[in-house]
Symmetry: C2
Subunit: 234 residues, 2 copies
């Protein structure tokens, strides 16, 4: 059990477990394992029987599901501290509602379903925190829905600002996510080409820089203005 000590310390740093005793966390993570993933590796597959859920320890994972057209939609970007697939653990015969794929080198604490139903739901504090996390996710969906009629540039700006807001330290504008234009398009329900046209423009203006591993936002003001104002020539 010594190998787990570091993990428990990591978990204590997440708001989900903040203030929890090490011993309590250890019980909540009974029989769980740390999964180490490389870029593009899949942890859970859409439609598979859901036997476990996870807590993101480091890196990031994208949650996606197929559409009728054969394309994929990215539903959510999970960053450290996020819980994935936990909310369906209480269902009778759960299947994964999304695929979970690593973005860059990432680590996930994989916890058996039985632990959720025996231990997690019995802990009132944890239940409350989970509900807050859940309602936060719903809030995100609602925010996105409110942007349905906004121009594509607003949606991209909102996405980037949203990702930045999730970072522990947002002051430097650094988003440690290997995010491709295709993934942005899949997340917004748009086409790669359109996303590129908007972002190249910003890139020229020095609004941000991207490498294959991260995004560096240099002028967040422009993004904020973009998604709050309706009248913009781009």
């Amino acid at each position: 059990m010594g190998a787990f000590d570091g993990v428990i310390t990591e978990l204590q740093g997440f708001s989900l477990f903040s203030g929890f005793e090490r011993e309590a966390i250890k019980q909540l993570c009974d029989s769980s394992r740390v999964i180490i993933n490389r870029h593009h590796e899949t942890v859970f597959n859409f439609g598979d029987e859901a036997t476990a859920f996870g807590v993101v320890l480091s890196g990031a994972y994208k949650l996606s599901r197929p559409t009728a057209g054969g394309e994929d939609v990215i539903v959510y970007f999970s960053t450290p501290g996020d819980v994935v697939a936990a909310f369906i653990m209480t269902r009778p015969n759960p299947v994964y509602p999304v695929s979970v794929v690593a973005m860059g080198p990432s680590r996930l604490l994989k916890i058996p379903r039985a632990v959720y139903n025996s231990t997690w739901v019995r802990n009132p504090t944890l239940v409350t925190r989970m509900q807050m996390s859940l309602s936060g996710r719903i809030g995100l969906f609602q925010d996105q829905k409110a942007l349905l009629r906004a121009p594509l540039s607003s949606k991209i700006a909102a996405l980037l600002i949203g990702l930045l807001d999730k970072q522990p330290d947002q002051s430097d504008g650094y988003i440690p996510l290997p995010l491709t234009r295709k993934e942005i398009a899949d997340s917004l329900g748009s086409s790669v080409e359109s996303v590129i046209r908007v972002m190249s423009e910003w890139s020229k203006r020095g609004v941000f820089e991207t490498t294959e591993k991260h995004i560096q936002i240099l002028k967040p003001e422009i993004l904020i203005q973009e998604f709050s104002s309706q009248t913009e020539t781009t």
Copy 2:
């Protein structure tokens, strides 16, 4: 307390409370009141301090929130048995994330926030059911996101089928909702005119009929085909 007996029987009929003892339900509904609303009456206002949540008893309520453009987006249509605003009760100083407005004559059981935090979260069965309801809502959002690139006709078809699926008895294609084209547009992030153009076509073909109080779907096959197939001349 006799006046409440009928309400408790109603609640027992909802999946949220199925199998609960009358006495248990009575405790969960401590200090709550039945609110009777007419068409267009507002129960909760977006941004107001959230002091209570609700359970829809009869009729329906639309959940909407304003957008940057001054328009409204309809986020969800609540029907009997649905819980509204419950998920934010555990937050420190909650405000309503949506406005709740009656669609036609409706009744809502309004429960003080304190009851949620003292009684509801202590009941493991109820917590599990709430989480299932919540994850169902998230599933809906994901389904909608998967349709982002689909033509408007598919989105409208999916909305109607979704509403029909929520009805206790769906076999007759009857949806007891006074749903306007504008509300459909606001729910899909589209314009009234576009919605009308699609629906008039269907109306001519006898796919459905609408009155000021309900929707009668006559040929669900056509709707199902519309939103599952990608190639359709309409």
